[in-house]
């Protein structure tokens, strides 16, 4: 345990010092930013999909609501950093409205309904032109410096991973784990499963909403097809599963692999990244449900046995 804390502090120190160590390596900082942003998003998805076992194919909706909230408030004269909290809060509020009907559905039915939610939210954003600017999207004027953006993503990611670590070892986390393995049994044991699932969804949506604010700060342009797009929802499912479903660090690992792979492949072969991820997803579901983190842990154990 102490050793683990030491490692996390070391990782944090390296992460904090990265912009100072590499003041001119803009590409490196950009990739690191994306890893942190996507890592936070994947961690947020994992709170519901991994810990509680409720796989959502529509989580882009919350990212989009956060991003649009930030962009609209900035247009009203708010500083971008002040929009983070409203962005998260509005996404969480939206998740409550959605959670009420959809959590009556179980397992695969819930997952199918979330495809509909993602699509419905995108359609509303696309057609509510007076608020969202429709298909032409919204543009933000000034970008904070790359280092500021990087630190914002770092803070977001630390917050998300910290929340996930806390949830996993809390009473609430045990309730979610019980729901994941057997909802009826959890109910019998006295867990209010609908309440626990709704709370997990709200936390998950809050993290994605704040991530939407950081997203808007970086890209400066948001449109229904970028933030609400189905490809965003796909990425949110794939990253945690490839990394390690229901673990604290798995989603971050998955996000790192996803981002680096995409950066490498996208320039040369369009769509090859998603193909690779489809194959990875199938392989992991079939052979190693614990994901890359599981493979890593297995290797470490084997190595320890030998030495």
């Amino acid at each position: 345990m102490r050793r683990r804390r030491l490692w996390s502090l070391l990782a944090l120190a390296v992460a904090l010092a990265l912009p100072l160590l590499a003041p001119h390596a803009e590409y490196l900082l950009d990739v690191a930013f994306l890893v942190l942003l996507y890592g936070a998003m994947a961690t947020g998805w994992n709170v519901l999909g991994g810990f509680a076992g409720q796989v959502s194919f529509g989580h882009a909706a919350f990212l989009g609501i956060g991003a649009y909230t930030a962009a609209i408030l900035v247009a009203q004269g708010w500083p971008i950093w002040a929009t983070a909290l409203p962005a998260g809060a509005l996404a969480a509020l939206y998740s409550l409205i959605i959670g009420w009907p959809t959590f009556r559905l179980r397992g695969p039915y819930f997952s199918i309904a979330t495809i509909g939610i993602g699509e419905a939210t995108r359609l509303v954003a696309l057609n509510w032109t007076s608020l969202t600017g429709g298909a032409s999207g919204l543009t933000l004027s000034a970008a904070p410096s790359p280092a500021t953006q990087y630190y914002a993503a770092l803070a977001l990611c630390c917050g998300a991973v910290g929340a996930a670590a806390w949830i996993q070892s809390s009473r609430f986390g045990y309730a979610l784990a019980a729901i994941r393995s057997d909802t009826d049994a959890a109910e019998t044991l006295g867990v209010d499963t609908t309440l626990a699932k709704t709370q997990a969804l709200a936390i998950s949506a809050f993290i994605l909403g704040v991530a939407g604010c950081v997203y808007a700060m970086h890209y400066l342009f948001i449109s229904p097809d970028s933030v609400f797009g189905f490809s965003t929802s796909i990425a949110l499912v794939v990253m945690p599963i490839v990394g390690g479903l229901g673990t604290v660090l798995g989603p971050l690992l998955g996000a790192a692999v996803f981002t680096v792979l995409r950066e490498q492949l996208e320039a040369n072969f369009q769509n090859l990244d998603l193909l690779v991820f489809g194959v990875l997803l199938c392989a992991i579901v079939l052979f190693e449900p614990a994901g890359l983190l599981g493979i890593f842990n297995g290797l470490r154990q084997r190595w320890r046995k030998h030495s």
Binding site: L105, F269, L281
Partner: protein
């Protein structure tokens, strides 16, 4: 007159919706898994038809003769190599596996056929039929006929043939089917193959009506899920009924809302039905009859 037009066009659309949903219902009924790769298979059916037409000058109306056996074989191979491994695990595992398969199909198609929008353009595709002042597009009428014929053929196959009865037995009770000596593994492979073949057939028919790219099928698949849930997930007559209900809801909904929001209707219907009648309309009727 206006009302009649809406009704007739809803009926034609219902035939189309039913055709693209039978495969999903068959696979759910027998294997109890939701085929999330449905959208990818619809898209593939459309592309194979297009490819046969553009490269080999095969009439798209004859394409199902090749598409159906090809997709049947593909489905059997998929069941034996992939689906079989996860069938006894939690439902979410098979859902994720088939989701991964969808990603693979979609992105392989991007590599082969690029993201350009394709469409099939023959004399037949543009032909219209005049009935009492109403102009109906021939392909729509044809697709409706094909959907109705498929329903008839499926029902006959499932009730008259030995293989069909074995499929129904496994759908009703897997363990009891095993006890009477049915090879459940073989039935699963056959049902999955048949389901994939039906979806491919649906995709082939859709290519006559719509232009498509590798992302084709996502919105339509959502409609299929809605229809299959409406119909109670395992009965074909229920699927046909669900298709009609959705087509009517869309047809009349569009009179009061902008066309851009058409896809919202299926989602709203899906959520409302899932919440109000978890067993679908067919289940509701069954429970009323019993009472």
């Amino acid at each position: 007159m206006d009302l009649l037009t809406t009704l007739v066009s809803a009926l034609l659309v219902a035939g189309l919706y039913a055709t693209m949903s039978y495969g999903l219902a068959l696979i759910y009924g027998v294997l109890k898994i939701i085929n999330l790769a449905n959208a990818g298979l619809l898209m593939l059916g459309a592309y194979v038809t297009w490819w046969l037409w553009s490269a080999w000058h095969l009439d798209p109306l004859l394409a199902p003769l090749i598409v159906v056996p090809l997709f049947f074989a593909f489905g059997v191979v998929l069941e034996i190599t992939l689906v079989r491994r996860v069938i006894d695990r939690e439902p979410i595992v098979s859902l994720l596996l088939l989701f991964g398969l969808w990603l693979i199909l979609q992105n392989v198609s991007y590599l082969i056929w690029t993201g350009d929008t394709r469409s099939i353009d023959t004399k037949f595709v543009d032909a219209t039929l005049d009935i009492g002042g109403m102009r109906l597009a021939w392909p729509r009428v044809y697709v409706f006929g094909a959907g109705a014929l498929t329903l008839w053929a499926l029902t006959a196959f499932l009730s008259k043939t030995h293989a069909g009865r074995a499929i129904r037995a496994v759908a009703q009770d897997r363990d009891a089917a095993k006890l009477v000596g049915i090879d459940v593994g073989r039935v699963n492979a056959m049902a999955f193959g048949l389901g994939v073949a039906l979806t491919g057939f649906g995709g082939s028919l859709l290519s006559l009506l719509f232009s498509f790219n590798p992302d084709f099928g996502r919105a339509l698949s959502l409609k299929s899920f809605c229809i299959v849930v409406l119909g109670g997930l395992d009965s074909f007559a229920g699927v046909a009924f669900g298709a009609l209900a959705l087509a009517l809801a869309e047809g009349f909904g569009l009179r009061y809302m902008p066309a851009a929001l058409q896809n919202l209707i299926s989602f709203v219907v899906l959520v409302v039905v899932l919440i109000v009648f978890p067993k679908g309309i067919a289940g509701l009727i069954r429970s009323i009859r019993r009472a």
